[in-house]
């Protein structure tokens, strides 16, 4: 059990996590907005350009922020997902439909929602984590899939 914890790079994950937490705080304290990535992305298809400017700025900066980190730190890019095309599309459809129906994902429910101590977000986070752990177990260990 202890070896499992030795594969964690604590400096990277705690500081990276703190940067994500600070991002969520900035957006909430200054702009009164929830840093939920799926909510922002899906609003692009549901409301006017004028109302979406801040969302486009956030999402664009998020892509640049990741690239900038790799450029400055020399960390290599992570690999692309190792998933077959049909599963990649099916997974994307599930993530999009599910987070739209459930009104949030890891950032909106998992960070901003839990930081607000919203019971709805705590239940959502436990549910999607549980569902993901069970799905991975079934596909990888029961069906012998390659994920």
């Amino acid at each position: 059990m202890l070896e499992l914890f030795s594969q964690v790079n604590y400096t990277s994950v705690l500081l990276g996590g703190a940067a994500i937490g600070l991002s969520s705080v900035l957006l909430f304290v200054f702009n009164g907005r929830i840093a939920g990535i799926c909510g922002m992305a899906f609003s692009l298809m549901a409301t006017s350009l004028q109302r979406n400017i801040w969302r486009i700025l956030f999402l664009g900066s998020m892509i640049v922020g990741s690239l900038l980190f790799h450029y400055l730190s020399g960390f290599e890019y992570p690999p692309a997902p190792d998933t077959s095309l049909p599963l990649l599309i099916f997974g994307g459809l599930l993530v999009g439909y599910g987070t739209s129906l459930g009104n949030g994902c890891t950032s909106g429910h998992g960070i901003a929602g839990i930081a607000r101590l919203s019971p709805r977000s705590i239940v959502a986070t436990l549910t999607f984590m549980g569902a993901a752990i069970i799905t991975l177990y079934v596909v990888k260990h029961l069906l012998g899939g390659t994920i």
């Binding site: 940067a19 990649l88 959502a124």
Partner: protein
């Protein structure tokens, strides 16, 4: 003018979010699937990313919600309208969790990873937007 500052906040927050995802290796689907593989070779990294984020965010959110009626630059806090734990929340979370496990991306890392230039990421993000559009169209019909 406060609008321009709000935009500057959105850019800063976006940069921090993207840098945080890359630094903690959360843009790596294998790393995320390693966390979800609780009954295999479990990789606890993602848990510590959440801990790092919440150690900072939770006390500040609570303090701000207790001491302020409005955010610093906007008229109000834009909080989710629904506070009910209903069927849609649970079914949505289950479907999301299943898709997350299959590929290893949730929406944030998938969009951040667009910058790496992989076709697979683009396909995933398009499928994700199509999935959300399905839901937007079907929920409009209900009303």
């Amino acid at each position: 003018m406060p609008f321009a500052i709000q935009h500057l906040i959105a850019v800063s927050a976006g940069l921090l979010f993207g840098a945080g995802l890359a630094a903690s290796d959360m843009n790596n689907p294998e790393r995320v699937q390693g966390f979800l593989d609780l009954f295999g070779n479990w990789d606890p990294s993602l848990m510590f990313v959440m801990v790092g984020a919440l150690l900072l965010a939770l006390p500040i959110y609570q303090w701000v919600l207790k001491t302020r009626k409005t955010p610093l630059l906007a008229k109000r806090f834009y909080l989710p309208l629904s506070t009910k734990i209903d069927r849609n929340l649970i079914i949505g979370a289950i479907l999301f969790g299943a898709g997350w496990a299959l590929v290893g991306y949730c929406p944030g890392p998938a969009i951040a990873a667009l910058g790496y230039g992989y076709t697979d990421v683009l396909i995933f993000v398009i499928a994700m937007m199509v999935g959300a559009k399905f839901h937007q169209l079907s929920s409009k019909k209900d009303q």
